[in-house]
Amino acid sequence: MLDFFNSNETIHFIITVSTMLLFTIGLYGVFTQKNLVKVLISFDIMETALFLFFIGLHYDFGRVAPIVDGNLNTFTNMVDPVPQAMILTTIVIGLAILALGLSFGIEYFRLTGTNDISKMNELRD
């Protein structure tokens, strides 16, 4: 029973199904939420789901983190470092966009007293 859970196939299956569920939850939030803050939270959930998907599928059972320390002397049997570097970059970019969006929201709130994106209809035909 436990061996079943320790196989790569099972782990990757769990990761794929769960992250896609998480992604769907975020997508649902982006479509349905009206508060700007809630929309930004939904974006972040989507992004987190993608990060977990990418890092998770590059994890194979028995591999170790790509860092050499006292016990290891060569870069062998390690997980792929490039996805980790890419995700690190994307996390920081996500924070930058989130903070910028929030500052837009604060300024808009000060001008109009609302933060509802469905009420933003100043611009139209």
Partner: protein
Amino acid sequence: MIGLIILFTFASIIVVALYAVLSQDVTQAVILFMGVGLGSVVLFLIFQAPDVALTEAVIGTGLSTAVFLLGIRHTSIDKEVKS
């Protein structure tokens, strides 16, 4: 064993994320979102990505929650749209 831990962590993340998206209270949603970040930190550690885990811990869980809370506090954005 690791598969089971991954399964349970994912299950809790999904439940928390669902609550965060459906919650009527924005402050509550922000705190629940922090829970999602916390769960993903655990998962990144299991996936042998300590760098990403540390980044997610300080940025996804720490600073972005702080920025969210500061952003919605005094401007009383959270008293706006419910639903």
